[in-house]
């Protein structure tokens, strides 16, 4: 990791503060109004928010544009998610330059889901780089001011690069080998895929051993049963515990809107109390709260970590 600090997220991580980040999802729309409103609510609760890039390969508002608008309109620092699925190395390079020019301070470098999983199935999948080589490219651009061909970049972008890890991967050894490779490539922090089981997390940290890179653990308090169910069914590498899923399903029957909200919050707080208590004893540097459209759950969950 270089010594320079360009973002609030990196500053907090370096200071050893327990870090909380959130998540915003631009939609299939001609504006970014909803994520901007959500971001306004999250100001003060999290240090930065990830802005998703065509999640699950559904084509939405460009993540760089959304990140810029959210930072500008809501004053929320963004983590610009950047996938290799849709862009070749040249487009990635110019996007990183563009992100720097727009004042974005963090990029989460991802391979991305295959296009066949989303809503534009006949698209040509790109994957010219992978997450590791994208991380390396960004570090080379930022630290050395060079592009892939060794050409000089005038006034190089000033931003940090994070990477993903999947503690729930079936082949943990291969996954950890890949994570170590990302560390070799210069990743500055890691964010895990959503985890629900404490033993999954423990096994991951054990297998990884001590590393110098801070790790944010991803949690997903669902706002509705549908969200939890979608994660269970469609998000690779994530197992949602049946008890939690059932408790969420039961909230569907509640007619009164306010009562339903209360019950959903109760189910989440009950489930995550144990999990977050456990998290305190792990090497995690913070928690990425993937609570899309569910900002009200963040303060009570943060409280559990105090």
């Amino acid at each position: 990791m270089g010594d320079e600090v360009y973002s609030d997220l990196m500053r907090e991580l370096k200071e050893g503060k327990y870090v909380f980040t959130g998540e915003l999802e631009p939609e299939k729309a001609g504006d970014v109004n909803e994520p901007i409103e959500m971001a306004k609510e999250l100001v003060g609760m999290v240090v930065a928010c990830n802005v998703t890039d065509n999640p699950q390969s559904f084509a939405y508002v460009n993540s760089m544009a959304a990140s810029y608008l959210i930072q500008k309109e809501a004053g929320m620092e963004c983590v610009y998610q950047l996938r290799c699925s849709d862009r070749n190395r040249m487009a990635l390079l110019s996007d990183v330059l563009g992100a720097g020019a727009l004042g974005l301070k963090n990029i989460l470098a991802l391979a991305g889901d295959h296009v066949s999983l989303g809503d534009t199935k006949d698209a040509k999948p790109v994957f010219d780089l992978d997450s590791t080589t994208l991380i390396k490219l960004i570090r080379t651009m930022v630290d050395e001011g060079k592009d892939l061909g060794g050409n000089e970049i005038h006034n190089p972008p000033k931003l940090h690069v994070g990477g993903a890890a999947a503690p729930g991967a079936a082949h943990l050894k291969a996954e950890v080998g890949k994570v170590k490779r990302k560390i070799n490539a210069g990743v500055e922090y890691l964010q895990t895929q959503v985890v629900y089981y404490t033993d999954v997390l423990d096994k991951f940290f054990n297998e990884l051993g001590k590393v110098d890179v801070p790790i944010l653990v991803g949690i997903f308090p669902a706002r509705t049963f549908g969200q939890a169910d979608f994660f269970d069914k469609y998000v690779a590498g994530v197992d949602v515990p049946p008890d939690y899923l059932e408790a969420m399903r039961a909230t569907k029957a509640i007619k009164d809107k306010e009562k339903k909200k209360e019950e959903v919050d109760r189910v989440n707080i009950e489930f995550f109390t144990g999990f977050l208590e456990h998290l305190k004893g792990t090497p995690a540097a913070g928690c990425h709260m993937m609570a899309v459209g569910y900002p009200r759950i963040i303060p009570p969950l943060k409280k559990l970590m105090e």
Binding site: D113, D130, T133, A174, Q193, A236
Partner: protein, 252 residues
């Protein structure tokens, strides 16, 4: 071998709209192995087109005469020049390579401009067998197998990652994209483990050099391929025995 499948009849009929007199041409190479361009397949397609009211002329190619090798397949085109001149379209039962080579030859060497239509979909360079084959190589021009324990990261991995696995591997180590396919990067890990080469796994492989795949790639041979006649025929006899059973009939 280039694996291939027959196109659906509706698609073929779509291309043949307004074209009444057609030629169905086979291929004695890969398309014969995959039963998509052998004599039987040519007869079948001709029969089906006749049922649809088309007037069909057949040019089957004998075993080992590949549509894509124009020096050989061109002889069969020349032999049928008259028919070709009087037809509205030529359907070629080969991979796309054969289709294009035939079209170019007819156009430029024979002076016969006709629509030449593919009857098959080529689906890749495959290996394995006897019944279960898989795409193993995409002839990328810069082989990476030395870095990945002999498993092609570009072809065997659904995303073609040089540094995997991705975060999408399924619980049974199958690929994110297809539950029937193994995750190539789990396979690479396991093979490196067996070979005691795990240090290679965590090292960073550079992005693939796609500059080696500037399409279309041209290939110059210093001398044309020459097969010793008797050895060649022996090999063909052997292959036919394997492919078609114990009694090969070969027109020597």
């Amino acid at each position: 071998m280039i694996a291939q499948e027959k196109k659906p009849m509706e698609e073929i009929l779509g291309y043949l709209e307004g074209k009444q007199k057609v030629v169905v041409m086979g291929c004695g190479g890969c398309a014969t192995f995959y039963r998509t361009g052998d004599t039987k397949a040519v007869n079948e397609l001709a029969e089906n087109l006749t049922k649809e009211g088309k007037d069909v002329f057949k040019i089957p190619l004998p075993f080992s005469i590949q549509a894509c090798e124009i020096e050989k397949s061109g002889v069969f085109l020349e032999k049928n020049r008259k028919e070709l001149e009087n037809r509205d379209a030529v359907l070629v039962m080969s991979c796309g390579g054969g289709v294009q080579v035939v079209a170019e030859y007819m156009d430029e060497k024979m002076g016969i401009a006709k629509s030449v239509i593919p009857a098959n979909d080529a689906i890749g360079l495959v290996g394995g067998g006897p019944t279960h084959l898989k795409e193993t190589c995409q002839s990328c021009g810069m082989c990476e197998l030395g870095k990945t324990a002999g498993i092609c990261p570009l072809t065997a991995c659904g995303k073609g990652l040089m540094n995997g696995p991705c975060g999408g591997v399924r619980v049974d180590n199958k690929c994110e994209i297809d539950e029937n396919k193994d995750c190539a990067w789990v396979k690479i890990y396991e093979r490196m483990e067996k070979l005691d080469e795990l240090d290679k796994f965590t090292s960073i492989r550079d992005p693939h050099e796609w500059s080696k795949t500037k399409r279309p790639r041209l290939f110059e041979m210093e001398e044309p391929v020459k097969i010793n006649a008797s050895a060649g025929i022996g090999a063909i006899k052997g292959m036919m025995a394997v492919t078609f059973g114990p009694k090969p009939k070969l027109d020597e």
